[in-house]
Amino acid sequence: MKYLRLLLKSVFRNSLRSVLTVSGIAAALFLIATLLTVLDTLTNPPETPDSALRLISRHKISLMNALPTNYLEKIQGVEGVDSAYGSMWFGGVYDYKGVDQYLGMFAVSTEDFFRVNPDIELPEEQKEAWLADRSTALVGAKTADRFGWKLGDTVHFKSNLFPVSVELKIAALYEGGADQGGGVYFHWEYFNQAMQNNGIMGTFSIRAESAQAVPLVAERIDSLFNNTTQPTKTETEKAFMLGFVEMMGNVQLLIGSICLAVIFAVVLIAANTMAMSIRERVREIGVLKALGFQSRHVLGLLVSESLLLALVGALLGSWGAKFVMGAIDMVTLSGGMIQSLDVNTVVLATCACIGAAIGLLAAGVPAGRAARRPVLDSLRHV
């Protein structure tokens, strides 16, 4: 600690260079923090006690094949199932200021909807109002904000999947749920009517009685329909969501490689800066050693200086990312794909570690060389 003043003096000796180095490292760590957060958000959807109990059943061939609606009753009768509802992806399209916006919109059977989704939060009277009227919609607060919808508004929704469009009055706004307030739900009966009673169901959302029952429920449902012409595939909500990430291909590999390349580039750049800074100080280092400082002291000082710069850069970058991600409207930016990006503690800690590694690696070679240099040689240096 007693060397702190000396350390700070060295850092501010060429403050322009220090600022540039810190900014460079900060830019890189901002990038890494954001990429790691995107990866984490995609591959680790938040799991709550409620979401861990949910399963989703779809047609075995693919999500683009519908299932018979009478499967709902059969599923509700399966041992270990607490409740279940059917839902159909509507392919909802909303014309917002002349541009078609795609919505996460579902037609759902409402009977057990809130029993399966107790994490959907909304005022009781709004819940009643939505359940009571078939021509109304339950809209996520984030989606409503995005398009400026208010309770009581009537909104026209087109579909890119069905030859119908629906007019729905917004009866309720919710927060939370699996989509964190980013979806639109309306009555399946209303959809079925619009489809001239030709309505279909794409998936069934199921709540298991207990965590232990989850894998058993999946197995029982699938074996129930296994030998029919419309077999099912039932998996946990989390596995179902991860299926979409799998479809995107090697996202993990791509983001991982970018991060590695960025780290490597930053190490090179920071090492070069440290080398330049040390080269200018050869005489000074000679003086320090002549005064009785030992090689390890000198090495310690130089490495700490590099560590300090890299850590400050890493902190600025990762906290900057946290601040920026919190401030921007992710829903609009990603077209509703990502609800929010939160740079979490794990990512912040990872960034600090990366910063420390950059500092150590960058200082290693030049500082070692400077510390080992004979005093006489250093003092003679011009």
Binding site: N65, N160, P163, K233, M248, L254, A265, V266, M276
Partner: protein, 390 residues
Amino acid sequence: MKIPLKYNLRSLWVRRTGTLMTGLGIGLTVAVLLTMIALVNGLVSTFVSTGQATDVMVMRKGSASEPNSWFGRDIYQELRLLPAVARDEGGEPLAVGEIIVVINHPRLNGDSSNVMVRGTSERGLVMRPEVGLVEGRMFRKGVRELIASRSLSRRFQDMALGDTLPIAANEWTIVGIFEAGNTAYSSELWGDYDEIAQVWNRPIYSSVTLRAQSPEDVDAIITAAEEDRRFQLDGMRQKEYFQIQTASAVGIITLGLFVAIMMGIGSSFAAMNMMYATIMARFPEIGTLRALGFKRRSILFSFVVEAIVLALIGGVLGCILAIPIQVYAWMTGPMGSMNFITFSEAVFNFRITPFIMALGMVFSLVVGIFGGFFPAFRAARLKLIDVLRD
């Protein structure tokens, strides 16, 4: 009067370790950038190069893609007999009605994805000259047989020649492999229309493709298809249909732009650091240059050029670094990602072209200008008297 370029080159050579490290730092940035552009390019060029100029696709109104579209079979008969539709030697209209279904199947690495299956007929092959059978034979009518694109067979399980592909309770045999070049058809399995419509229990068409007699007739067909009020249909140029799907690349483009901007800023700071250091070490030299009569703007120009050369060294290193990435991509075969419009796998080739490398060099040029300007400005503003007294 201009300061000779040789002066800058020698200065960079004297500090070669620093030059090389800064250059490598910028080079890595350029390599990352080239990779991202190559991915976008691969995906986009696949869609842009698909489709025939005289072909029209008819789908259900409002459906953006074939898997989302379906309409009754009776419409097909009316559409194919439109007067503007071209006919073959036998007088038969050049038209094909097809069904698209999507299956979820594991890739070779175990991850699952959606794959489009096109229920078509001999006519589908005739109308798409870019698709050619290269191994095995064509699927037969009324049998559970499929032909797979070479790209899919190299990327997914159970899709090689002779394999049995299980789809729900049914088993389909892969009897042929087709090549479709760099087009969207490289992401499809093809089978007999009647068999697929029957097994899926969907007696519908997803799309009807019609060839116009001449480019001028294309609009006539589109209007005729859309005007008929009995059917709610959209007509679209085939080229346009596939062009819209380039929107699938938007995720990679956003990611690439973000990486490019952040890394561009980081690299510029690195170049700036390097340039400030070299200029500060050269105050006496700069004073001498001024004393010799070189103008301030010559000095400004000279140091910006030095920074550009430094960054361009990085650009060249980046292009060299990108070569092994390209070789690796060749060895591992085609890449794939999700096509958000059809909600299924889009297979594409990762390709770094000379144009992409040129873009990388432009990027490093910008880094050089941005990184060099402020230090050079500082050098140019030095007072002659101060420097010489130093």
